[in-house]
Amino acid sequence: MTPPTTTGAARAITNVDERPVLRERGQREVFCGLTGIVWMHRKIQDAFFLVVGSRTCAHLIQSAAGVMIFAEPRFATAIIGERDLAGLADANEELDREVGKLLARRPDIKLLFLVGSCPSEVIKLDLSRAAERLSRQFMPDVRVLNYSGSGIETTFTQGEDACLASLVPELPRAAGDARSLLVVGALADIVEDQFRQTFADLGIDNVDFLPPRLSTELPSVGPGTRYLLAQPFLTDTSQALENNGATRLSAPFPFGEEGTTAWLRAAADAWDVPERHFNAVTRPGRDRAKKAMERYRERLAGRRIFFFPDSQLEVPLARFLSREMGMELTEVGTPYLHKEHLERELPLLPAGVCVSEGQDVDRQIDRCFAAEPDIVVCGLGLANPFEAAGVTTKWSIELLFTPIHGYEQAADCAELFARPLSRREALAI
């Protein structure tokens, strides 16, 4: 990596909850929302994601997925060609034809997402109309929806947000005002099962998850719905749910023992679960989590960590690592700081930590070297150059591919950060 030099660029310091936030607008080094397809296509088992884009889009997904082909993937790219650029009418026809072929080959698909990209948006190919048209043609066998994963509109995890937001209008309307709990954000199946059990033990039944594992099991939503965000990047989904009458339960995110307990408590409070019962139900998980995390605390305490903006998980994870693992935060970068959804997280960050939003990657690399962190959380493009410069890293994409939510995974989450440090210590070369 290159030595620091400074040039002027767009930046501003503003306050969020009295905390200074460094806002930057320069080169970003973040994937676009198409990346979400890599985990979403595994989560919803009867859904297919068809990106309408360029060769670049196809190449991005393939590179992010690492071409680990175990089964035929449930995603593909319809690559726009020159002819499509020449006439939009033809582009629509072509799209219909490709979709027809695809659905004929994959009769198991019940839900098709047309995913917009930068090129499809710049040429104003209207995918919502295409989705309506195709839905009319293929319903009731296949429902066709659309959302944008484009890099001009979305970063990385915002793709999941856009996808879920497009699902919300499809959710059946809940009859009456009966209370139900909706957990929002793709979780590992095992985590989902654990949470389901805990809520049942707390006496909260009527719990649903969005996204569901099958598109035929869409949860209903109405004024009785209270929802808990499992991921901090679900701005549009949240808005869409509110439009359907649902109410958000404000909570920190379920990372670490503290976060998980507070998150569960938000639901317990809304359901008037008695404190004693709540404690009795959560005690074993809390104890197990604490015990399991102990050994990583030894490794992580006092270590300095720097977050590059990537997944939007940065703030909750920084909170977890500083409060429960005793790590020292230098800069916590995030592509987008959603004040409201982070209202219970930001106050838990120690004073003096630099929170930054947006990016100017070269300047941030300079700041990172100056901060002399023990470990840097960053995207795949930056990781090896940092390692080569002697800086230990943790790639952020893994945080989306590994179960890290809840009590039983709290230690696994800590371990993800401890392992690169242990490795560096173990290596005698």
Partner: protein, 515 residues
């Protein structure tokens, strides 16, 4: 529109990145949205480069589109120049920026930077990665090269340039090294290697060499032709991959610059010819191999497979449409149909249909072969992280031929083991679905049989019935020839109008087709 699951090549600007990243003191400013920065990981993760690629992306967003993306681009160029202080810059647009038509070349030009700024025109909706690399290299050469220095012939030894090695290339790192050694041994010095580790100053000196070596025609052909036209610099375009091709290469170079090839040819350091003649290799005879990849590597592989290992090439294809003609010609000579496609599913179907014993391909074919339980070796880009080995493993030159022998033969069953499996197919440890013992257990064998049954898409074949005894006999045939035996038997039955296949039919077919 073209439906794509996996692509063999990225967009053309990734080809430009491969050139820029291979070079020194060059910076590339790419007008592109943020997601396009994914391309950095190809170099830092897959190739394990320790530096970020020298690329600045403008990462414009939707809100910039209404405003001034041109200004954003100019700022990015100016900032990149100040920060990285390159000796030359290339500027261009990705697929999205191409649509907003900001004219990166003109915008950069207006900044009057004190270095050469080379605009790229890479039509993203028509072209692909290798073409992008070739075009970028050509632009760079055309802009930066200078007429030969006067003392060109004052040198005591002839010199050449090695052209075509880029970042993210299949074994380019080691090929450059191997070829350099070979040429020096031959009495030829290397003037410049490019784009690999070349600076803009090195490009300026290209014309000083006596001739060019086109290592990878996909990338260096355009530039080499231009150098020939402009400076009368001849080029050698035989990629020296395999023993015979290396010998041809040596002879052609020797003739061109009038040196004696004999010392190099006489002590040719390849073990391949002897290994191939040694009795242990008898079992390689007639192994049915399917070859797919870029044109350079498949053409070389076809020759090696046939002439140097006595394999039978049953299928040959490429995704390099620019070189389709050459591959078609080679296929015709081999008596097979060339498969020219960039659709992974076409390749998969062809492998399914041909049931080869060995697949030589890219990382895509590795997956195809794995799913069908067929042995595989990687011979061409695109490749994954494991194909950038720590060990020295060139493809070119005599040492390259050694590496090729090892990597191709390794996945195959050893000779005696193959016989024992055939003889004692019911031994419980030796069962039919066993993998080569030196490769350890693998769960993929079972799938081979399943895949075979899925293959019966052709109505005629579906109409055939296998009697229980024929099925039993078939199951006793070792897995690595079972696919072929099944296919041969069915073809045989169809040709003769046999509706029910019995053991008898199977043996008749065996007699008819030979091994």
């Amino acid at each position: 529109m073209q439906l794509t699951l996996w692509t063999y090549e990225g967009p053309p600007h990734v080809g430009a990145m491969r050139v820029a990243t291979a070079m020194r003191d060059v910076h590339y400013v790419l007008h592109a949205p943020q997601g396009d920065t994914y391309a950095d990981l190809l170099f830092t993760m897959i190739e394990r480069r320790s530096q970020r690629p020298p690329v600045t992306y403008t990462t414009f967003q939707a809100r910039d589109l209404g405003a001034d993306t041109a200004q954003l681009f100019q700022d990015a160029v100016r900032d990149a120049y100040e920060r990285f202080q390159p000796k030359a810059m290339i500027v261009g647009a990705s697929c999205t920026a191409e649509l907003i038509q900001d004219d990166p070349g003109g915008l950069a030009d207006a900044l009057n930077l004190p270095i050469p700024v080379i605009p790229l025109e890479l039509p993203s909706y028509q072209r692909k990665e290798n073409w992008g690399a070739a075009e970028t290299f050509y632009y760079i050469v055309r802009t930066l090269s200078r007429p030969p220095a006067d003392d060109r012939n004052g040198r005591s030894r002839p010199t050449c340039n090695l052209l075509g090695a880029t970042a993210l290339g299949f074994r380019h790192r080691d090929d450059v090294n191997e070829l350099g050694m070979l040429l020096r041994q031959l009495g030829v010095d290397i003037n410049v290697t490019a784009p690999w580790e070349a600076t803009p100053d090195d490009i300026a000196r290209l014309a000083d060499a006596d001739f060019n070596v086109v290592m990878y025609p996909e990338i260096a052909d355009t530039a080499a032709r231009w150098l020939e036209r402009t400076y009368g610099q001849p080029y050698v375009a035989i990629p020296p991959i395999g023993v015979s091709a290396t010998r041809d290469f040596v002879k052609e170079v020797a003739e061109l610059v009038d040196v004696d090839p004999m010392p190099v040819l006489a002590d040719a350091a390849s073990r391949l010819p002897w290994y191939s003649r040694s009795v242990d290799s008898t079992y390689l005879t007639g192994k049915r191999v399917f070859i797919f990849g870029d044109a350079t590597h498949v053409l070389a592989a076809a020759r090696i497979a046939r002439e140097e290992l006595a394999f039978e090439v049953v299928g040959l294809g490429t995704y390099s449409r620019e070189f389709a003609r050459d591959v078609r010609a080679a296929a015709r000579e081999l008596g097979v149909d060339a498969l020219i496609t960039d659709d992974y599913l076409d390749v998969e179907a062809r492998v399914q249909e041909l049931q080869p014993e060995l697949v030589l391909g890219t990382q895509m074919e590795r997956h195809i072969a794995k799913r069908q339980g067929i042995a595989c070796a990687v011979i061409s880009s695109p490749v994954h992280v494991q194909d950038f080995p720590a060990a020295y493993a060139p493809q070119m030159g005599f040492e390259g031929a050694n590496a090729i022998f090892d990597t191709w033969v390794h996945p195959l069953m050893m000779g005696l083991e193959e016989h024992l499996l055939g003889m004692f197919s019911e031994d419980f440890e030796f069962h039919n679905d066993a993998t080569p013992s030196h490769l350890g257990g693998s769960a993929t064998r079972g799938k081979a049989a399943a895949a075979e049954t899925e293959d019966e898409s052709i109505a005629d074949v579906e109409a055939l019935t296998w009697s229980p005894d024929a099925e039993k006999t078939l199951s006793r045939i070792p897995f690595f020839v079972r696919g072929k035996a099944k296919r041969n038997t069915e073809t045989f039955a169809l040709e003769r109008g046999i509706a029910t296949i019995t053991s008898e039919t199977l043996y008749d077919a065996k007699a008819h087709f030979g091994r």
